[in-house]
Symmetry: C3
Subunit: 347 residues, 3 copies
Amino acid sequence: MSAITYTVAELADRFGLTFSGDGTHVIEGVGTLAGAGPSQLSFLSNSKYTAQLTATRAGVVVVREENLADCPGAALVARDPYVAYAQIAALFERLPAAPPGIHPSAVIAAGARVSGSASIGPCCVIENGAVIEDGAILGPHCIIGEDCTVGAQSRLVARVTLVTRVTLGRRVLVHPGAVIGSDGFGLAFDRSASDHGSWIKLPQLGGVRIGDDCEIGANTTIDRGALDDTVLEEDVRLDNQIQIAHNVHVGAHTAMAGCAAVAGSAKIGRYCMIGGNAGVLGHLELADRVTITAKSLVTHSIREPGEYSSGVPLQDNRQWRKNAARFKHLDEYARRLSALEKDSNNE
Amino acid sequence: MSAITYTVAELADRFGLTFSGDGTHVIEGVGTLAGAGPSQLSFLSNSKYTAQLTATRAGVVVVREENLADCPGAALVARDPYVAYAQIAALFERLPAAPPGIHPSAVIAAGARVSGSASIGPCCVIENGAVIEDGAILGPHCIIGEDCTVGAQSRLVARVTLVTRVTLGRRVLVHPGAVIGSDGFGLAFDRSASDHGSWIKLPQLGGVRIGDDCEIGANTTIDRGALDDTVLEEDVRLDNQIQIAHNVHVGAHTAMAGCAAVAGSAKIGRYCMIGGNAGVLGHLELADRVTITAKSLVTHSIREPGEYSSGVPLQDNRQWRKNAARFKHLDEYARRLSALEKDSNNE
Amino acid sequence: MSAITYTVAELADRFGLTFSGDGTHVIEGVGTLAGAGPSQLSFLSNSKYTAQLTATRAGVVVVREENLADCPGAALVARDPYVAYAQIAALFERLPAAPPGIHPSAVIAAGARVSGSASIGPCCVIENGAVIEDGAILGPHCIIGEDCTVGAQSRLVARVTLVTRVTLGRRVLVHPGAVIGSDGFGLAFDRSASDHGSWIKLPQLGGVRIGDDCEIGANTTIDRGALDDTVLEEDVRLDNQIQIAHNVHVGAHTAMAGCAAVAGSAKIGRYCMIGGNAGVLGHLELADRVTITAKSLVTHSIREPGEYSSGVPLQDNRQWRKNAARFKHLDEYARRLSALEKDSNNE
C-alpha cells in the first residue's frame, strides 16, 4: 500500500491557503501538535495551545495569520484553521475498499433496484421496492427494508437497518447499529379490554426522510412517523445512541451529541445544538439556533435563540445530600422568607 | 398490489360503531384531520382540534357522540375514538410478506425446533434447543440462542438477538437491534487479587421471561437474571433504547418511554408509566399505577399510585447558572432562614 | 448432557476454603438462599439476609466465619463469600459450544489472519488486516473490520462490530450489539459554506485499545480516536448502552453502570465507579477511586477520590412542581435572605 503524500505547496494550492516556509516539504499524514513528526501536518485552532505550537515537531502547521510568528517551521495560513485541517485530514483517511458490485452472500429481492456503481457488502439483505442509488456503499450486514431508498454516494458503514419507507438523501453517512424507520411508540389504552384495560398498538404508517449530508451515529434509533413522516433536513449531525421518536422534525445543520433524545412530534429548528443526553419532550417547538446544554430536559417550547439549561451542580455526596434534602422544602422556604420580609417591613 | 378498501358501513359493522352519513362511501386509508382526503378516514380524540374537524376533507371521521355535530361529512361514533381509530388503522397496515419456511441463507442447528408455519428470514441463526412456535416471524438477521423460545405469532422485525434462556410469549413484537438475555452486570470485587484488587464476574445463570403481547423497542436491552429470571408480564410496552437490568420484574400493562432504565432486581408494578430517560435504582419496588415523569430518577420505593418527578426547570443559561450556583448552598440558606426566624420571634 | 457436580469438600479444596458439615454432599448448581434446594449451593454476603440463612434448604452455603453458627447445614467459610460464590458459580455455567474452526457461512478476507484454535460463528465477516488470536470465540454475526485484533481467549458473544483499528486484549468479553471503533463525533463548522454555514466532518484517524479482561455490555458504543486512540485499560467493566466518545481514557478496574456516557477526551481514573446514566463532560479528568452516583453530570474535573452527586430528590408531582418552580428564583431568594440579615444586624 503506497503512502498518500502531498507537498505543503500542493495543500496550499488545493485549499486556497497561503504558506510560509518550505513548499516542497512532503506531508504523509496528520497529528496533534504534541505528537506530530516532520512528515505530518498539525493545526492550532485554540490559542490556549500556543505553547504546544512553539514546541511542535510537525512538518507544517495550519494556523491563523496571528499565530504565524509562533510557528517553528512551515505553516499554512487559514481564516479557520480547524475547517482547513478537517479538509486536509480527509485526504489522509483510508476508507475500506468498497468495489462496485454485490457480494455473493448478499440477499437481494427480485423487486429491489441496485445501481451498478453501488457496493453491497457481505450478508446485506435488500427487500422489494428498495432502491440503492449510484455510488452508495453498504458495508456488511446492512438490511434495507421495503420501499427504502439509499441516496447516491451515501455510506452505511456496517450493520445498519432501514426498516421501511425510509429515504436517505445523498452523501448520508450511517454508523453501525443504527436503526432507522422502526415503529414509532404509538399506543392507545383500551379501558374496555379484559382485566382493567390493555394497550392497542397504533400502526405506524408514515416513513422517515433524511436529507443530504446527514450523519447518523452508532446505535442511534429514528422511528418512522405514525401518519406523516419523521424528517431530518440536510446536514443534520447525530452522534451515537440518540433516540428520535416518530414525527420529529429536525431542521438543517442541527447537531446532537450522544444519547440525546427527542420525543414524538417535537420540532427542532435549524442550526440548533443539543447537548449529550439532553431531552426534548413531545410536541414542543425549538426555534433556530437554540443550544441545549448536556443532560438538560426541555419541557416547554423555546421561541428565542440562545443557550438553555437545567440541572444542579455536582458536589461531594455528603454536601449534596444536605442540599438535595432541602430542595424538597423550597416552596416552604420561599413562603417563610416572604413572611419574614413582611414582618420586617411592618416593624 | 390491489388497494385495501372498506366502506364506512363495513367499518361500523366490524368494530361495533354507529355511523352517520353515506355508509357506502369507500375508504382506502387513514390520515390526519388536516391531511386526509375523501378516500381516507381520520379521527378526533382531543377536543382542542375541533377546528380541524370542521375543516377536514376526510371521507369519514371517528368521533365521540358529542363531536358529531361538528363533522362536515360521514362519521363513525365511538366511545373512545383513539382506540377505534387504532383498530381501524391496523386494517390498512401493509406488513412485509413473511411466507412460511426457512430462507436458504439461515443457519438452523440440528437441535432447534422450528414450526412449519413459522417464517425465518435471511441470515437468521437458530441455535440448539431453540423453539420457534407456530406462525412466528423472524425477519432478517435474527439470532436465537440456545434454549430460547419464540412464542406463536410473535414477530421479530429484523436483527433481534435472543442470547440464551429467553422465552417470548405469544404475539410479542420485537424491533431491530434489541438484545434480550445478555449477561446481567454482576461483579464481585476481589480485594485479594494482584495489584489493588480486580473484578470477578458472576455467571448469569437465569433467563428472561416475556409475557404475551409485549412490545420491545429498537436497540432496547434486557439482561437475563443472575439466578432467577428477569420477567416482563403480559402487555408490557417498551420503547427504544430502554435498559432492563437482571432480575427486574415489570408488571403487566406497564409502558416505558424511550431511554428509560431500570437497575437490577427492581420490581415495577402493573399499569405503570415510566417517562423517557427516567431511571429506577436497583432493588426498589414501585406500586401499581405509578407514573414517573421524563428524566426523573427514582431513588426510593413507591408504595402509593400517583405521579412522581424529580429535576429542575429549564431556563436561559445565564439565569440558570445563577440559580444552580445557589443550589450548592441550600442547606446553609435554610439554616440562616431558621436563625432569622428565631431572632425575629425573640424580638 | 451430564450434570456438572462437585462435592462440598472438592469445592473447599479447589478454592482454599474450609468447610463444616458433610464434605461428601454433592452439589449440582447454585441458587438463592430462598430458592436453593439440597443439591444447590448458596451464599450469604450481606448480614441483613441472616433470617434467610437460618431458613435455607440449600445443600451448602458460603458464609463468613461469623455467620457459621446460623448455618442450618453444610457451610463453606470464606473471607469474602461473594467472591468465593462468584468463583464457584462459574463452574456451573454452561457456555454455548464453540468448536474451533470457521463456520462455512462466515466471510473471511484473504488478508485476515485467524488462529486455528479460534471459533468463528455463522455469518461473521472478517476484513483484511484483521487478526483473531488463539482461542478467541466469535459468536454469530460478528464483524471485524480492517486492522482490528481480537486477543486470545476473548469472546464476542454475537453480533459485535469492530469497525477499524480496534485492538482487544486477552479474555475480553463483548456482548451483542456493541459497536467499537465507530467514527468519533468530530465536526468543524464552516461559516463560509453556502447558506449560513454547514458542518465539515473531521476524519477519525485513531483507533481503540481495550485492555485484558475488559467487559463491554450490550449495545454499548466506543468511538475510535480522532488522532490518538481511545483507551480502556485492563479490567474495565462496562454495562449495557454506555457511550464512550473519541479519545476517552478509562483507567484500569473502573466500572460503569448502564447508560453512562463519557464525552470526548475525558480521562477517568482507575478504580472509579460511574453510576447508571451518569455523564462526564468532555476533556475533564477524574482522579482514581472516584464514585459518581446514578444520573449525575460531572461538569468539572475531580481531583480527590470520593463520592460525587448531582440531581434533586424524587417527590410527588404536585409537591415537586411547587419546589421546582421556586428553583427558578433561588438566586433572588439568596439575595433577599442576605438583605434581611443585613437589616436584622443593623437594628
